[in-house]
Symmetry: none
Subunit: 376 residues, 2 copies
DNA sequence: AGCGTGTACC
DNA sequence: GGTACACGCT
């Protein structure tokens, strides 16, 4: 039996929106740690994985692992019936052939229940090509989307070159060629910039902790067997960081996203109960966050993003130069996830599939895309 | 060799946007005075000319005259890759077959370079139909766009009648007829509106000088000898006004734009050199402008336009009544240039092509359209 | 965020 | 040839 209570239906809506064009049917694998989805795109060129951790839900319960075979088209329709800020409850009985979705308006005046048919899907869960990445580029997701959109006007492919200079995106087209160089952002230029920070700072701590987690996760992915283990480890670490300091610079970026989500919840749903999963840690933040501003969440989110904008720069970590060519059509598709995170991470090694990762609070969506060969 | 550095890519974007539907290929004629484009529309009914003076660029260099044969479709694509506030650098080697466009983000963290193929275009540079205009109507460009849009819903043609009463736009359609009368705005309500004016006045003079040239070219057909004279006459007038007051409305508008650009440069690239071209005049404005707000340029521009909006009224100068009929389809197209200037000037004489002119800071875009005959 | 246009699929 | 989906623009 699954019961998962999501604070904002918008998160799920955006996730499904991001992948529905790529994937028509997929299994949501549910277990006590959360929901996972993995699917090849329809043309079997790209791989998508989605993860929503149990901790990202207001309430989460899954007695035993179960796959929910979902048709994205149906789910999209059903999710359109939810308002962005509705609380969304997912329920499925063991071996059920339907998924129940309940939308509760924030004031609880309105309760809508939908039951969506499930299907049996051969879950050819493939091992994720695991790699040790030689280059890792973090950049604002909007910037990535812009570049991909721009270049796809010129040609079908983009060559990505990562060097110490920065990362360069190159496209050759019939009428024109284009190349965009993003230099690595200088560095921690964030100090003393704002007064909002403060509220933020605390969330930063959280964020950073999470970021740390995320980073670790990724690293581990390379040897994925350990991934899970790591996750747990990270969690532990997170708490530790928080306790100790909470002001790690780099993590800050990634954390900020998390912070956003959490902060939002705090503000928007401050009146609500308690976050069970990780409350222990979140409680501390709750108050400070509230102090900041009880106002508009939408605005709040925006501010946060903007705050981050400054902070969210381009950062590059690399062991060696990497040059790869990809189909812009797919990257364009991936960049639909821009709404899920202000930041995107590209992981690359020569001759190995690119990993494009959007991490949001307590979850992520990742895309894998094989490079074109022969730089065609 | 050409190298032209434009403070804001938006200017070029808007220009090309305005003409791309009318013209598919055209030569940008570059010389030390600036860039000029002249082309018949695809159906050879209308003529478009564009001028961007060297003084409108942050930096401008053109060693020797050269034509750049551009496909508007390609250029449109490449320009879409520029953000409105990017600095845009155009470069072409002598006899090059490509035009290089470089976009620098204001923070310079992002540098995008595009190379667009050029083409050889038979520059059948036509003499511009030259006329002695019997009527000159100046009005808010938005007003013109609105009228054209409204009337094109009713019929295919508009009859424009200029009299002392004002200017009247008449359309007869199957389902309905419409006519719009614009009376001349009371009078000089422009005084005291700006302090910036000065610099601009000069460029205005230049433009008129240029206009004169163009007009002269074509004068042959009517009784052109006088045309020039006329233009000059106006010029003299204008100068006179300027000297007396310094607050000539028209000039003011254009000046403001300049001010913006300079201000921006100052702020963003304060470390850079100096504006060579018109610094002498701009300096005066510089300080006051800065005091206001060093912030968003976009906003700044907007403000200026808005500033002008108030002052921009309808003014009519005429020697005799004029009645002409035009295809609304083309006028609708011309009015795409509305974004380039808050003001538009219509120059008309009976049985002679209409001249529709949008002047912006240091340049203009002009359209010529032959009247329909027999008022069909 | 909504509307309109263009592209792709049935 | 029509319908539906996606993308871009206002």
């Amino acid at each position: 039996m699954l019961e998962a209570r999501l604070s904002e239906a918008a998160i799920l809506k955006r996730l499904i929106d991001a992948i529905k064009e790529l994937v028509t049917d997929a299994n949501f694998e549910c277990n006590e740690e959360g929901l996972n989805l993995q699917a090849m795109d329809n043309s079997h060129v790209a791989l998508v994985t989605v993860n929503m951790q149990a901790s990202g839900f207001k309430k989460y319960r899954c007695d035993r692992p179960m796959p929910l075979g979902v048709n994205m088209n149906s789910l999209t329709k059903v999710l359109k019936c939810a308002k962005d800020d509705d609380v969304c409850i997912l329920k499925a009985a063991d071996d059920a052939d339907v998924l129940s979705l309940t939308y509760e308006a924030r004031n609880t005046d309105r309760i809508a229940e939908y039951e969506m048919k499930l299907m049996d899907i051969d879950s050819d869960t493939l091992g994720i090509p695991d790699t040790e990445y030689d280059a890792r580029v973090t950049m604002p997701s909007g910037e990535f989307a812009r570049i991909v959109r721009d270049l796809s006007q010129l040609g079908e492919s983009v060559r990505i070159e990562v060097s110490k200079e920065g990362v360069r995106f190159i496209s050759d087209g019939e009428a024109a060629n284009g190349n965009i160089l993003l230099k690595q952002t200088d560095a921690p230029q964030r100090s003393g910039s704002s007064s909002k920070k403060k509220a933020k700072a605390e969330s930063d701590d959280e964020e950073e902790a999470q970021a740390t987690d995320e980073e670790e996760q990724e690293e581990e992915e390379d040897e994925d067997g350990e991934k899970k283990v790591k996750v747990k480890k990270e969690k532990a670490k997170k708490e530790k960081v928080k306790k100790e300091d909470g002001d790690v610079e780099m993590n800050g970026d990634e954390d900020e996203e998390d912070a956003d989500y959490q902060q939002k919840e705090d503000e928007d749903e401050g009146e609500e109960e308690q976050d069970e999963e990780e409350e222990s840690s979140s409680k501390k933040r709750k108050k400070p966050a509230k102090n900041g501003k009880p106002a508009k969440k939408a605005k709040k989110v925006k501010e946060e993003n903007e705050d981050d904008d400054g902070p969210v720069g381009v950062s590059i970590e690399m062991n060696q130069h990497v040059t790869l060519t990809f189909s812009l059509k797919y990257l364009l598709n991936f960049s639909k996830s821009t709404t899920l995170s202000k930041k995107v991470v590209l992981m690359m090694s020569n001759d190995v599939p690119l990993l494009v990762s959007y991490d949001f609070g307590n979850g992520f969506i990742r895309y894998y895309l094989a490079p074109k060969i022969g730089d065609d």
